[in-house]
């Protein structure tokens, strides 16, 4: 049912059942909010979106109040503005005035709200919170003093990721966001996905920065710094520097990295090809023996951690194949740089990932001497942007750098890892080839594409039919896991990604990404697949060469230690 209501003196059509904020968004009137999140039920707790409705005594929150036929609404009356201003002034009362030194400077919702509402003086003075910054976790840093208790991190952690690693502790003016028994995030149920950072309006949650470590390595003459980047990174960098996502962006991106001082540049997608080869061989082995199915993918470290802590019964179902980041680190340190005359200990491998969890993953994987890591430092996409700016690199003056190291050759299947469903698509292409000796036709699997959190399809391989599933958003995985634990047998491969829609929406991406940027990142990946000549991992000449020279054949005993891992059997929580 449609009817007219009055907003700021103008007649506007509204539908029954929608909230006032829905109408305001549609007609382009902006009301500020701190607690509201797209796709979540509104809580109406921050009260910033309040509006004045004639005939109602108090101000009403527009995000949770439904429109009614008789309504006359004022969105920016003096009374409303005063209320909003007071709310922000009260929030600022306890907030540290550290904007200059804050890593969210110029990208902080509280800061821009204070600016928008024209707050020019500190109205209220109160004692600052003196709670220690939680730096116990290698991925995520928590600074409770900067928290404004909007509760978005709690909701995304509980409703989308499903682990509820943080919650409101205490009551009233003593309440703050924390973990049980005030422990560090490293020993809580946190899976380090970093989705909480993506929704935090201030810098209360941020990644552990590795910028200084990388800078030191770049300027250390004894080290040989090399860098690998994940499939989604170039497109995200293009967004940040307002570059067109085109074929050239990859070469421009390479040129920037070269200029910063990295000696060799690798595309992690090449290691993703290697992951596909190993995983496909592993699956076929399981399929032939009909043992421990379905197989879960294991390239998402947050998902692996979740399984290790919460779903120990399903651990044998996890593929033992290492993630592309760790494979790349191992291949680089063991083969590539040694052929360039470098010792593993002097090679410094930096990886750029759209992910905070990869920091945690890299820390856990060390060489036998216990001192050398395979990946020495992990930067998120955000940190790389900061580093590029710090090094004064101007993209408009860069000459595109062609692919120099042979090792950045990759198939588009490896590139697809960046989006939910993509890993599975690449994997199926190779499984089909390994099982039948023929390429899959058509090569595109449309059922596994698109911005959906749960995708499933049947794949015909020779005379057999495989049922495969791609699930993203860890909370969505739970129902699938419960079904499998209670005996569901018809699924054969499940691809799990912790962040909704996969790494394009990872916890290390640009803060403030909307659906539009997710779509463009996804398109960039599928466009590569469209244009690329080599679309399957097993046709990547580097991969075949690696197997010929060093590795033997996929999933063989000789590379068990190099390319496979055993899940951790001790619980940390």
């Amino acid at each position: 049912m449609q009817f007219d209501i009055e907003i700021n003196g103008e007649q506007v059509t509204a539908k029954k059942g929608e909230t006032i904020k829905n109408v305001l968004d549609r007609i382009g009137i902006k009301v500020p909010t701190l607690c509201n999140m797209n796709g979540f039920t509104p809580t109406g707790s921050c009260r910033l979106c309040v509006v004045e409705v004639d005939g109602l005594q108090g101000l009403v929150p527009s995000c949770s109040h439904q429109v009614e036929e008789w309504m006359k609404i004022k969105t920016h009356s003096p009374r409303v503005l005063k209320a909003r201003k007071t709310i922000v002034e009260l929030l600022l009362a306890r907030h540290p005035d550290e904007c200059l030194y804050c890593n969210r400077n110029k990208n902080c919702e509280l800061q821009s709200l204070a600016e928008e509402l024209d707050i020019r003086e500190r109205k209220h003075q109160t004692k600052r919170l003196s709670i220690q910054i939680d730096r116990a976790c290698s991925s995520i840093e928590r600074d409770p003093a900067k928290c404004i208790l909007c509760g978005r991190c709690i909701r995304i952690c509980d409703e989308v990721i499903g682990v509820a690693a943080i919650d409101i502790m205490g009551r009233g003016s003593d309440s703050r966001i924390g973990t049980s028994y005030n422990k560090g995030l490293n020993v809580s149920s946190c899976v380090k996905c970093g989705q909480c950072i993506m929704v935090c309006p201030t810098a209360a949650l941020s990644e552990r920065s590795n910028i200084q470590t990388v800078l030191d390595a770049l300027h250390n003459p004894e080290l040989f710094p090399v860098i690998q980047f994940s499939p989604t990174v170039p497109a995200s960098i293009a967004e940040d520097f307002n570059l067109k996502t085109s074929k050239d962006i990859l070469n421009l991106f390479r040129a920037a990295l070269k200029k910063m001082g990295f000696r060799q540049i690798f595309d992690t997608s090449m290691a993703a090809d290697l992951t596909i080869m190993e995983e496909a061989a592993e699956f076929i082995d399981r399929w032939n023996k009909q043992s421990v199915l379905p197989m879960f993918t294991s390239c998402c470290p947050s998902w692996v951690r979740y399984a290790e802590e919460e779903k120990r019964k399903l651990l044998p179902n996890l593929s033992s194949t290492r993630s592309p980041q760790q494979m790349m680190g191992r291949v680089v340190k063991n083969y590539i740089t040694s052929s360039a005359g470098q010792k593993p200990s002097s090679v410094f491998v930096v990886s750029v990932m759209p992910c905070t969890s990869k920091k945690h993953e890299a820390e856990g994987d060390v060489m036998k001497d216990n001192n050398t890591r395979y990946v020495d430092a992990v930067l998120t996409t955000r940190e790389l942007v900061r580093l590029i700016r710090l090094m004064g690199i101007d993209f408009s003056c860069l000459e595109p750098e062609p692919n120099d190291t042979a090792f950045s050759l990759r198939s588009s299947a490896g590139k697809l890892f960046g989006v939910s469903g993509g890993h599975l698509e690449g994997l199926i292409r190779t499984i089909h080839y390994m099982m039948t000796g023929q390429e899959i036709n058509p090569i595109k699997i449309n059922d596994l594409r698109g911005l959906k959190t749960k995708k499933e399809t049947h794949i015909k391989i020779g005379k057999q039919v495989l049922k495969v599933m791609a699930v993203s958003g860890l909370a969505n995985v739970k129902s699938v896991l419960d079904e499998i634990e209670s005996g569901r047998k018809d699924v054969h491969i499940v691809e799990v990604m912790t962040c909704p829609f996969g790494c394009i929406n990872g916890g290390g991406q640009r803060i403030g990404s909307d659906e539009k940027s997710l779509k463009s990142r996804m398109k960039a990946i599928y466009d590569v697949d469209e244009e690329e000549m080599i679309k399957v991992a097993h046709k990547n000449p580097i991969i075949t060469d690696l197997y010929d020279k060093f590795l033997g054949h996929p999933n063989s005993d000789q590379n068990k230690d190099l390319l496979h891992q055993v899940p951790i059997t001790e619980k940390t929580v």
Binding site: V163, A164, A165, D167, G170, S180, S189
Partner: protein, 154 residues
């Protein structure tokens, strides 16, 4: 499963969130405070995240997360007791008992807690030491009590 939780199982249905507060109360009654291990057990039993349970428990003043001292002092900080003429200075008490408000002394003999109201407003200030309630307590009297407790040898 922990023995204590096992005993509770028949009375608290597994798929009901309403079981939570009752279980926490019983744990506190048995142990004096909520131990981390037991909260974990409850979380497993009720299929709730540990952090959610801890968050909920911290909302209520009745739940404690540390052990109590041999002598647990509860000082009424309600409006009436707070305003009564000879009101007790919590800072002095902290010095005498070697502990902060909400803490426990190093020898585990004393713990101190200021509470909102014990329902004896007309007889304030009110102090409760373990199960004994002292009414109309003057600072001098409180000093005497503390001294005698300190002198007591086990």
């Amino acid at each position: 499963m922990n023995e204590l939780i096992e005993k509770m199982v028949p009375r608290f249905p597994v798929n009901k969130k309403d079981s939570l507060l009752g279980m926490l109360q019983e744990i506190q009654k048995a142990h004096g405070f909520l131990t981390e291990e037991l909260i974990r057990e409850v979380a497993q039993y009720l299929h709730l995240p540990v952090n959610k349970i801890y968050g909920l428990a911290t909302f209520y003043d009745q739940f404690r997360f540390h052990a109590l001292g041999k002598y647990h002092f509860q000082i009424c900080n309600g409006t009436s007791c707070h305003l009564s003429e000879s009101s007790i200075n919590i800072k002095d008490l902290e010095n005498q008992l070697y502990t902060k408000d909400g803490g426990i002394s190093r020898d585990r003999k004393f713990s101190l807690e200021s509470v909102s109201c014990m329902g004896s407003c007309e007889q304030g200030p009110v102090v409760k030491i373990n199960a004994t309630v002292f009414t109309n307590v003057s600072p001098d009297e409180l000093n005497r009590i503390i001294r005698s407790l300190k002198d007591k040898t086990e």
